[in-house]
Symmetry: C2
Subunit: 145 residues, 2 copies
DNA sequence: TGACGCACGTCAAGAGGTTGACATACTCCT
DNA sequence: AGGAGTATGTCAACCTCTTGACGTGCGTCA
């Protein structure tokens, strides 16, 4: 039972790679007490403090609603805090959030390194550019500010 | 508000591309009355008739249980049928299943073509190989039969 | 042959996400 | 200034997939 030919489908390969990455990240992050979406939110907030709920949701590729309840968990865990009320609340990481993130971030970096094993710097750069091109080709409606 | 630097993360780019592809496929397949997992199952079965529930589940990157109930829908829709009982049931597409798939398959091919717009044959081939390498690097435990 | 391990099919329960809806606030356009 | 369109926060209901568990059939090894 070997693959036939749909392995040649870029869509299938994309899904396969993403699924594998997700599983690997999930396994590593579990030891840090974080889920993948939680980690993503923390990383996003660390690099772009002051984001709102909706902005964070877009960055993590989930709906506002999903991010809303996800943030609830991160708040009660003391990893994320926010200043401002309602619509213009600006979110940021707590010291505990930063600390938790550093460990998790290293673990994720290790996973990415494993994923890119044997990839030269050139190849990595080219792959990154290609992936961005794929996404851009599929979302032409995005406004160019 | 432009991306900072985590856009350089291959993991993030991968997720972004996969999310965009999923959304585009979902929009196209909706017009054919199929969800993405349903289409994936049909495509898988068309290329590898005689698969079992569990094999199909692995190919579609979901659990046996999810595939089980997914198949329920496809069966009642008359798109999939099976011969054999219980454990060694062999699944295959009905004529209606094949017909439904051909239309959907064209739509998906169009989406993939859009995704790969401006990609030369060389670049496509290289990208495909790279994606497979990513997945393989993350799943070293896979047996080589 | 009997026991162990393992994959499968399947049922039930739970977590996590999405869609839908509503009220509010900001922006643009006339 | 006013009104339409749009983005946001938030509540509720729903849906899909996962995790957990159970019984069963098949292979392997002592």
């Amino acid at each position: 039972m070997r693959q036939v030919d749909f392995e040649d489908s870029p869509g299938y390969a994309l899904k396969r790679a993403q699924t594998a990455l997700r599983a690997a990240m999930d396994a590593e992050l579990r030891e840090h007490g974080l889920s993948v979406p939680q980690y993503s939110s923390l990383e996003l907030l660390a690099q772009q403090p002051g984001l709102s709920n909706a902005e964070l949701a877009r960055g993590a590729f989930v709906t506002r609603q999903a991010m809303h309840q996800l943030l609830g968990g991160l708040r009660t865990a003391g990893l994320v805090t926010g200043s401002g009320r309602g619509r213009d609340e600006r979110l940021s990481l707590t010291p505990a959030g930063h600390e938790r993130l550093t460990g998790a971030s290293q673990a994720v970096a290790a996973v990415e390194e494993q994923m890119l094993a044997n990839f030269s710097a050139d190849r990595r750069e080219r792959l990154l550019a290609d992936l961005c091109a794929l996404a851009d080709n599929l979302t032409p409606s995005v406004n160019r500010s």
